[in-house]
């Protein structure tokens, strides 16, 4: 099927965080989800949150080695959003007993469990990073997130040479690791 190869290409793009592919998927699916959320007691902001959450879940799924999507992107996103929205409604106590719409869905519970676990890990990492304090936080962010090289970092933070900066980076990293794992293992 022609649609299939097209969708494969889009998913590949998404896996590489290619904004063009993200935009196409976004444009093709957002309105449907927005309509669904709006028709079921939601707001525009909630529609955006839920949709982006689902996109992230799909993105994470596309990262795994054994990744195959056995249904259309549209069906997958709809299923995830529906699940997420039902859950959110229940949490907020706004659940009215029935949700409109009988579109095709696929089972996404397992994926969502992985996704939630991931989210929890990110929260721990976020907390650990934020409790590090400066300049540790910025130094690590510069090296591991912005992928700056050691010389540039040394210059930016005012270390006399790259080796000193590197030493400092490792000290910070050890602290971060300790903070992260203390939380992480509790979480387990």
């Amino acid at each position: 099927m022609k649609g299939d190869t097209n969708e494969q290409a889009l998913l590949k793009g998404l896996a590489h965080n290619d904004s063009k592919a993200v935009e196409i998927i976004y444009k093709d699916n957002f309105n449907m989800i927005q309509a669904f959320i709006l028709n079921n007691n939601g707001s525009y902001d909630e529609a955006r949150d839920i949709f982006q959450e689902a996109m992230i879940a799909l993105y994470e799924k596309s990262q795994t080695d054994s990744f195959v999507l056995t249904c259309q992107i549209k069906t997958y996103l709809y299923s995830v959003c529906r699940r997420l929205w039902l859950k959110r409604l229940q949490q907020m106590g706004r659940f009215t007993g029935s949700v409109d719409g009988f579109e095709e869905t696929v089972a996404v519970e397992e994926d969502l469990e992985t996704h939630e676990k991931r989210n929890a890990e990110f929260v721990i990492m976020d907390r650990a990073l934020n409790s590090l304090g400066e300049p540790c936080k910025s130094l690590l962010q510069g090296y591991y997130l912005k992928k700056m090289d050691m010389n540039a970092l040394a210059a930016e933070f005012g270390y006399t040479n790259a080796d000193n900066a590197k030493n400092q980076k490792y000290k910070c990293l050890m602290r971060l690791k300790k903070l992260f794992f203390s939380q992480y293992n509790i979480g387990e």
Binding site: N17, M125, Y170
Partner: protein, 368 residues
């Protein structure tokens, strides 16, 4: 200090920056010292964690940017107010151009007519009056012409339309009239697929959101009407406990399900529908609910989300009433006739299904 050196070594080892000799030495060290091995594993996991964390931040960033871009270009809209009004606002935004055109055409005509009226009002018996009538005819024709253009644009949409939703539907007239749920038809049109997988173009001829029913008409040259429909549409209410079954398309293939009628009213006492005990899945919407004689007693529509098997079906007498509405709406539909002969009574279920599946269609709604 030693820790730092070790960490540096591990990081270089994991990123593959070590020279072959150094690597061999380090691997040997790993083999002989479990603590170091453990550290490598742990650090590797930690680096992955950081990488994932960083990727997560980046994808969020991308999503945010894409959302803003699309908003600016008007591909998305978040028109202000909250939920229940959302639908109306969306509709307004969708059709505001058409509305604007219609309003300005209306305005021009109003000015034109009032101008003419003022001009001619002094001489009522003037022969020019006739001319006015003609002019009005011209205006009317123009209007009609404009109307035609608007209609034509919408009917061409299927070329690059997207599928929006799907469900089931079933024949109520051999000429190709299909009853389904209104909520399935989200977009501007629909196609139907029969149990053999063949697709037909169709148009929405009537939609009733209160009853949640809609009628589609197949208009496709390839459609060959079947000789007769083997079921009737019940006018009376059915009884509690009656055995029922359904056919529908929760997947791309026709699926059979069986259950019983569990209450004479629907969700929250809704008297338009029945509660039935049957396992229904998304995609079953719009499918027929048959009694054991193979007569249609309802149209499967919704299910209660937190309860298992609690499903609701619109009562079949509503089909009779929307068919009446349809006949009233246009003389072209005068000849629509609901089937009046049920031929499946006392027949084995397998045979019933065999006959019925030709009449149950997969409905796919599309839109821009």
């Amino acid at each position: 200090m030693d820790d730092i050196l070790l960490l540096d070594a591990i990081e270089r080892y994991l990123s593959g920056e070590m020279s072959p000799e150094e690597r061999a030495y380090f691997e040997n060290l790993r083999n002989t010292t479990p603590e170091i091995d453990q550290m490598v594993v742990e650090h590797n996991m930690f680096l992955h964690q950081i990488a994932d964390y960083s990727a997560n931040i980046q994808i969020k960033q991308t999503l945010h940017e894409v959302h803003q871009n699309l908003l600016e270009r008007g591909d998305l809209n978040e028109g202000g107010a909250l939920s229940p009004k959302g639908k109306v606002i969306q509709f307004f935004n969708k059709y505001k151009r058409v509305t604007a055109i219609a309003a300005s055409v209306g305005g021009v005509i109003a000015l034109f007519i009032s101008g003419l009226a003022m001009y001619f009002s002094t001489a009522v018996n003037d022969p020019k009056l006739e001319q006015l009538g003609k002019d009005l005819e011209v205006v009317k024709k123009n209007q009609q012409y404009q109307g035609d253009i608007i209609n034509e644009v919408t009917s061409k949409i299927p070329i690059n339309a997207r599928l929006l939703s799907g469900g089931s539907g079933f024949l109520v007239d051999v000429k190709g009239y299909i009853v389904t749920n209104a909520h399935i038809l989200k977009g501007t049109g629909a196609i139907v697929v029969n149990s053999k997988g063949k697709e037909f173009k169709s148009s929405i001829v009537l939609i009733d959101h209160v009853k949640d029913l809609a009628i589609l008409k197949i208009n496709d040259e390839e459609y060959e009407s079947i000789k007769s429909i083997p079921y009737t549409i019940q006018k009376n209410n059915s009884d509690l406990g009656e055995e029922i079954f359904t056919l529908g398309y929760p997947r791309n293939e026709i699926v059979y399900g069986m259950g019983y009628l569990s209450a004479k009213s629907g969700f929250n006492g809704d008297s338009l529908s029945y509660q039935i005990q049957i396992s229904a899945n998304p995609g079953n919407s719009g499918g027929p609910v048959f009694n054991k004689n193979g007569e249609v007693i309802g149209v499967l529509s919704t299910k209660q989300a937190q309860a298992d098997g609690v499903t609701f079906a619109v009562k079949s007498k509503n089909i009779h009433s929307i068919i009446e509405d349809l006949k009233k709406s246009d003389t072209a539909f005068q000849r629509v006739k609901l089937p009046n002969k049920s031929t499946l009574k006392g027949v084995e279920r397998k045979v019933q299904i065999n006959k019925l599946e030709d009449c149950v269609y997969f409905v796919k709604a599309y839109g821009k």
